[in-house]
Amino acid sequence: MHGFFETDILSDMQKPFYVKVLLVVTLLLGVNAFAGGNDPSTGDEKESLKSEIKEFIGHHLLDSHDFTLFTIDEEKNEHVGFPLPVILWDDGLKVFSSAKFHHGESVAEVDGNYYALYHGKIVKTDAEGTINYDEDHHATNEKPLDFSITKNVVFIFLVALLMLVLFGKMAKSYKTSSLPKGVGRLLEPIVLYVRDDIAIPNIGKKHYKKYMSYLLTVFFFIWIINLLGLTPLGVNVTNNIAVTFALAILTYLITTFTANKNYWKHIFWMPDVPVFMKVVLAPIELLGTFIKPFSLMIRLYANITAGHVVLMSILGMMFIFKNWIGSPLSFGLAFALSLLELLVAALQAYIFTMLSALYFGSAVEEHHDH
């Protein structure tokens, strides 16, 4: 086999480049498959690697109580990063450093209470850190109210700070001239895009102004935080259902509290349909008002989570293949996917803002004849 390919390559140097590449790829794969077949331990090793990668991805998707950049040695519990403050409400405010958990290895003792990390959540335990399970293998330990400054909270805060600086600077540059300077030059077209292509077409010229602050804030917040999620810092805030829930509930509340008579009339007593249909439609329409923000919440959460899972799985494949073909291939694939994720980061921000604007638009729509 080898001989044939080798002579083929040597004998025919005029062949197009891609043919040669294909030949080399086939060769190397063949060699690797042969070597793999010879080593009995590889199978188990791969299995454990797979579960390790799976665990790593799962861990990556979760929020954490400390800021770990990377782990040097899992067994020796050596990590590079820093601890974050833990704030608990458990018969009074308890504040302590997450360093006490030693990355979940030990039980933290505060004012005679013992707390342990269980799947990224803080649970109340005894001194040994015993976790009690019910028959469905769920921990039954008491969970105190956790207001800790987690990794995600830190990033939310940083993004908020970044936005304040960026847009504060931009606003200030308008004081001296009517044209923006510096960062404002980059941001102004985007701000105008949100106004002219998201807010005005969906809400209408008459009412859009009162929603602009929310739409702009939510657009830039989601976009920037999605982009930060793609950096090697590895935080992805928007794949937490709590975060997307908070954003969606704001859209819901703003829609509900700014809605006019016409909006409620269309929900509870749909005009221009028979009375029977009015009765049938009312609960459906009412449910619809909840489903709309719910879909916002799930869409953002699912898109970002899926993106990260796929991206990290492909990165993980690099370590599973561990050969000259698979690893570069998965690297290339991960690279391409990262570019796609850049698009998704902006796209999800756009969709969230667009749909919010659409819901606001329906809330302030004036009565018109059907």
Partner: protein
């Protein structure tokens, strides 16, 4: 779904809501309002400037049309004024001619009358003179005639003969 609910972290929800609303309020006051106002001002400024330019253009056209019209009017006026002046001149000349004529006529008439009366006076004078002269001549002749008796008789005879003839 169950996993999602289990994953839901109330703390994160609280912080997200708290920080996001804080961010929203701060940005609204310090960023969005000034930015959108500035952009809007700029846009309305541009719109106004464009409108003003358009208006100025229209104004300019009006002014040009106006001046054109004025020029036309002035031209017409000038024409009419020249015409009037010409008429006036002609009339004045004619009038002057008439006046001069009548004056001349009058003067000629007066002169004629004066000449006539002078003539008459002269004639009368001449008549008187002639009469006087005739008388003197007659006297002299008669004196001469009467100095010679023969002649006187002859004359008488002649005269008597004349009378007889008559």
């Amino acid at each position: 779904m169950e996993k999602l609910i289990e994953q839901f972290s109330f703390g994160l929800f609280f912080w997200q809501l708290f920080l996001f609303i804080g961010l929203l309020l701060l940005l609204r006051k310090f960023a969005w309002k000034p930015i959108l106002d500035a952009v809007e001002n700029r846009e309305s400024g541009i719109k106004d400037a464009l409108e003003a330019a358009e208006n100025a253009k229209k104004e300019m056209q009006n002014v040009t049309a106006d001046s054109e019209r004025l020029l036309q009017e002035a031209r017409v006026e000038r024409e009419s004024m020249i015409k009037e002046a010409r008429e006036m001149k002609d009339k004045i000349v004619a009038d002057a001619k008439d006046l001069a004529q009548s004056e001349a006529d009058k003067m000629i008439k007066q002169a004629q009358t004066a000449i006539e009366s002078e003539k008459k006076a002269a004639m009368a004078d001449i008549k008187n003179e002639v009469a006087t002269l005739s008388l003197e001549i007659a006297e002299k002749v008669i004196k001469g005639q009467f100095s010679d008796k023969g002649k006187q008789l002859q004359l008488v005879e002649e005269m008597v003969g004349d009378i007889k003839l008559n």
